[in-house]
C-alpha cells in the first residue's frame, strides 16, 4: 500500500534533487515498491498509521510567518533553530553562542555519509528521498557547548501535509553538547517524518531530547541513528505527549569500548492516541554499558507500546545491558504492550530486562487523601512520580524543569476525575 501520488509527481518533476540525487531517487523508489508498513510487520504491530492512508498527502510548503511567535519554554539556549512546515526559518532562528554558531549549518542536501547503521525501512527511505531540510551540527574536538541547542519544529500547514526533516549531529573527540528537538503543530492531519543521524567520536558526550507535542490528528515518526565510539556517552530521552500517533525509534550501535548509552522515555497516551517506542542497542564491542528506562501511562482509550531490543555480539564480552519498562493503566480501555528482545551471543555479560503493567496503587491514593490531598491531585502526584523515573537521569536545569512542567500540564488536562 502506498497511496502517495505526490511522490511520483515529485520524482518526475523535480529538476534536480539536492545532494546525492541518485541515492535519493533509489531510496524513494524502493520505498514505493514496499509500501507503508502495516500491523503485519513485526516492528510496526502496535503503531497506528491509518491516518497516512490518504491520497491527499503532499509535501508541506513554506509557511507565512508574519504572525508567528515561537515559544520553546527555554530561557537560555545556545541556539534556537526553527523549522516551520519542514522548512528552515532564518527569521525565527537565533544564535546566542559563538561556539554553537560555528558548529551549525542548515542544509537541504541529502548525504549518505552517515549511513544508517541498521537495515533501512520504508519510512527511512522516504526520508532520504524526500528530506526538505535539516540542521548539520558539527562540534569540534573538545568543544563544549553548555546550553542546549533547541530545534523547534512547527506544523502550521493545511490538511495532509507531509514534512521530512533530517538532522545530522557529529561530535568530534571529547566534544560535548545537548540538543532538544521539539515538535508541535495545529490540529490538521499531517505527518512528521524526522531522522537524526548522530556520530559520537571518542569521549564525546551528547544529551539528546526529543519531545512530541504534535497536534491531535498528527502522525509523528522519528528515528535516531547513533554511532558511538570509545568512551562516548549518549543520553537520550523521548517524551511523547502529543499526536494521534507518536513513534520514537532509537537505534544505537556501540562500536567503541567503554561507551555508555542511556536511553530513556516516557509516553502519556489518552483519548485514542497511540504512543510507541522502539529501541535497538547493538553492542558490537566489549566493555560497554547500556541502560534503558521507559515509563508509559495509558488513560482512557490511550495505547502505548515499548519494543526494546538489545543485541550483544559474540566478542562483546563484559557488556552491561539493562532495560526496564513499566506501564500504568489508568482506565480499563487503556492498553500497554511490551516486547523486550535480548539477543546475546557473548557468554560473559550482565543483561537484564523487566516489564510490568499495572494500575495506580489504591492504598497510596487513600493514604494521600487521608492527609488532606484531593483525589485529582493525589492521582497526579502518583503518576508524576511514576513517569519521573524516566526523567531522573536528565541533568537538573531549565530543560528538565520545562519537561517536568509539560508532563504536569498534560496530567492536569487529562487526569482529572472528569477526564478519566
Amino acid at each position: 500500500m502506498m497511496p502517495f501520488d505526490f511522490i511520483d509527481h515529485y520524482l518526475n518533476t523535480a529538476s534536480s534533487l539536492s545532494g546525492d540525487a541518485v541515492a535519493r531517487r533509489d531510496a524513494v523508489q524502493a520505498a514505493l515498491k514496499d509500501g507503508l508498513p502495516t500491523s503485519k510487520h513485526e516492528n510496526w504491530r502496535y503503531t497506528n498509521l491509518k491516518a497516512l492512508k490518504s491520497n491527499a498527502f503532499a509535501l508541506t510548503s513554506v509557511a507565512d510567518q508574519n504572525e508567528m511567535v515561537i515559544e520553546d519554554g527555554l530561557k537560555d539556549v545556545s541556539a534556537r533553530l526553527v523549522f516551520i512546515n519542514g522548512h528552515y526559518s532564518p527569521e525565527q532562528s537565533q544564535f546566542f553562542d559563538e561556539r554553537a554558531k560555528a558548529s551549525i549549518r542548515i542544509s537541504d542536501e541529502y548525504s549518505s555519509a552517515l549511513a544508517v547503521p541498521d537495515k533501512t525501512d520504508v519510512i527511512t527511505g522516504m526520508n532520504a528521498g524526500l528530506m526538505q531540510a535539516g540542521a548539520v551540527i558539527n562540534v569540534a574536538e573538545n568543544c563544549v557547548i553548555d546550553l542546549p541547542i533547541s530545534i523547534q519544529h512547527i506544523s502550521e500547514g493545511a490538511d495532509y501535509g507531509a514534512q521530512f526533516i533530517r538532522h545530522t549531529i557529529t561530535l568530534s573527540e571529547g566534544a560535548s553538547a545537548s540538543v532538544i528537538e521539539a515538535f508541535t503543530g495545529n490540529d490538521k492531519t499531517y505527518w512528521t517524518n524526522a531522522i537524526t543521524n548522530i556520530k559520537l567520536c571518542d569521549g564525546a558526550q551528547l544529551d539528546h531530547v526529543r519531545l512530541s507535542e504534535e497536534g491531535v490528528n498528527a502522525v509523528h515518526t522519528s528515528k535516531a541513528f547513533v554511532l558511538m565510539d570509545a568512551k562516548a556517552k549518549y543520553h537520550a530521552l523521548t517524551l511523547s505527549l502529543g499526536g494521534e500517533t507518536t513513534r520514537f525509534e532509537s537505534h544505537v550501535r556501540i562500536q567503541g569500548e567503554g561507551a555508555v548509552a542511556t536511553i530513556d522515555g516516557a509516553a502519556l497516551a489518552s483519548l485514542g492516541t497511540s504512543h510507541d517506542a522502539l529501541t535497538h542497542i547493538d553492542h558490537t564491542v566489549p566493555n560497554a554499558h547500556s541502560d534503558q528506562v521507559f515509563r508509559t501511562i495509558a488513560s482512557k482509550r490511550g495505547r502505548t507500546s515499548f519494543q526494546g531490543k538489545v543485541t550483544v555480539a559474540q566478542n562483546a564480552q563484559k557488556t552491561l545491558a539493562d532495560q526496564s519498562f513499566r506501564a500504568l493503566l489508568l482506565d480499563r480501555t487503556g492498553e500497554a504492550n511490551a516486547k523486550p528482545e535480548l539477543e546475546i551471543l557473548a557468554d560473559d555479560v550482565k543483561c537484564s530486562h523487566g516489564a510490568t503493567v499495572g494500575e495506580l496503587d489504591e492504598n497510596a491514593l487513600f493514604y494521600m487523601q487521608s492527609r488532606g490531598i484531593d483525589p485529582d491531585t493525589a492521582r497526579q502526584i502518583l503518576v508524576e512520580a511514576f513517569t519521573g523515573d524516566a526523567l531522573a537521569r536528565l541533568s537538573e536545569g531549565a530543560l528538565k524543569d520545562m519537561l517536568v512542567a509539560k508532563t504536569q500540564n498534560w496530567m492536569r488536562t487529562h487526569l482529572t476525575s472528569e477526564a478519566i
Partner: protein, 245 residues
C-alpha cells in the same frame, strides 16, 4: 466532638460494624480495644472515609458536621486524622513534597493562602526535631525503606504538622520496640490538649502504659460491649477478652 450513633458498616456482603455507639468530647482520650476481627480497623477506616467500606445505617457527627457525607480529604480539613497501622510507601514522592502538598491542600480547602517554602521548612524542621526524626529522612521517598518504627514516627510527624482536632490512631503501637514506642507516645501526648481528642485503637494494653486514656471501650463483633476507665485495659490484659466482654 465526635458522636457515632447506631453505626452499621458492611465490607462486601458481611456486616463488620453492627450498631456501634460512641461519643468523644474535646479534651478526652479514648482507647478501643478488642480481639482480631472485632472491627477495629474497619471503624478507623470508615471514620477516615475509605470508600471500600459501605455504611448501611447510622450517623456520625463530627464538630456539628455530617462526617459520612464528606470525602476523605474534606474530613482532614475538618480536623480529623488517621494514623495508619501500615503506613503506605510512595516511591518517587519525597516526604517533604508530600507533607507540603498535604498542608497546602488543607489550607486551600479552608480558604487560606499557601505556606511559602520557607514557612513550611521552618515548621517541619521544628516538628521533626521534637520527634527525633533526622531531616534526611524527610528528603527520602515517603516511607520507602523505612523500618516499622520509622514509619510510625513519620505518622507522628505528619500528625503534628496537620495538628488535628481528633486523631484516630489505628494500632500505632504495633511493631514498635520500646524506644520507638516511647517516641510515638510522646507524640500522642503532645497532641493531647483541652481542644483536641484522641482515639487509640489497639490490640494490646502496652501503649496505654505510656498514653493514659480517660475511657477504655471493648469492641467485639462490631459493637462496643463494655466501657470503663483505664482499669478496664488492665483487666483485659490479665483475664483476656472472652472473660471481660
Amino acid at each position: 466532638m465526635l458522636n457515632i450513633t447506631d453505626l452499621h458498616v458492611n465490607v462486601g456482603d458481611s456486616q463488620i460494624i453492627n450498631g456501634l455507639n460512641l461519643r468523644i468530647k474535646a479534651g478526652e482520650t479514648h482507647a478501643i480495644m478488642g480481639p482480631n476481627g472485632a472491627g477495629k480497623s474497619t471503624l478507623a477506616s470508615t471514620l477516615a472515609g475509605r470508600t471500600t467500606f459501605d455504611v448501611t445505617s447510622g450517623s456520625v457527627d463530627f464538630e456539628g458536621q455530617n462526617l459520612l457525607e464528606m470525602e476523605a480529604h474534606e474530613r482532614v480539613a475538618a480536623g480529623l486524622f488517621l494514623g495508619f497501622q501500615y503506613p503506605v510507601e510512595i516511591p518517587g514522592v519525597s516526604n517533604l513534597n508530600f507533607m507540603r502538598t498535604a498542608m497546602n491542600s488543607i489550607r486551600k480547602q479552608l480558604g487560606k493562602s499557601e505556606l511559602s517554602a520557607g514557612e513550611f521548612l521552618k515548621e517541619v524542621r521544628t516538628v521533626a526535631a521534637k520527634l527525633d526524626m533526622d531531616f534526611d529522612m524527610l528528603k527520602r521517598f515517603v516511607n520507602v525503606g523505612f523500618s516499622g518504627g520509622e514509619k510510625k514516627r513519620n505518622e507522628m510527624v505528619q500528625m503534628a504538622m496537620l495538628n488535628p482536632k481528633l486523631a484516630i490512631l489505628d494500632e500505632t503501637d504495633s511493631g514498635l520496640d520500646i524506644d520507638a514506642l516511647r517516641i510515638v507516645s510522646d507524640g500522642i501526648n503532645a497532641q493531647r490538649r483541652d481542644d483536641t481528642a484522641i482515639l487509640m485503637i489497639t490490640h494490646y494494653q502496652r501503649l496505654l502504659d505510656y498514653v493514659k486514656p480517660d475511657f477504655v471501650h471493648v469492641l467485639s463483633a462490631g459493637q462496643i460491649v463494655k466501657s470503663g476507665g483505664p482499669e478496664l485495659a488492665r483487666e483485659l490484659e490479665e483475664k483476656g477478652y472472652a472473660a471481660v466482654a
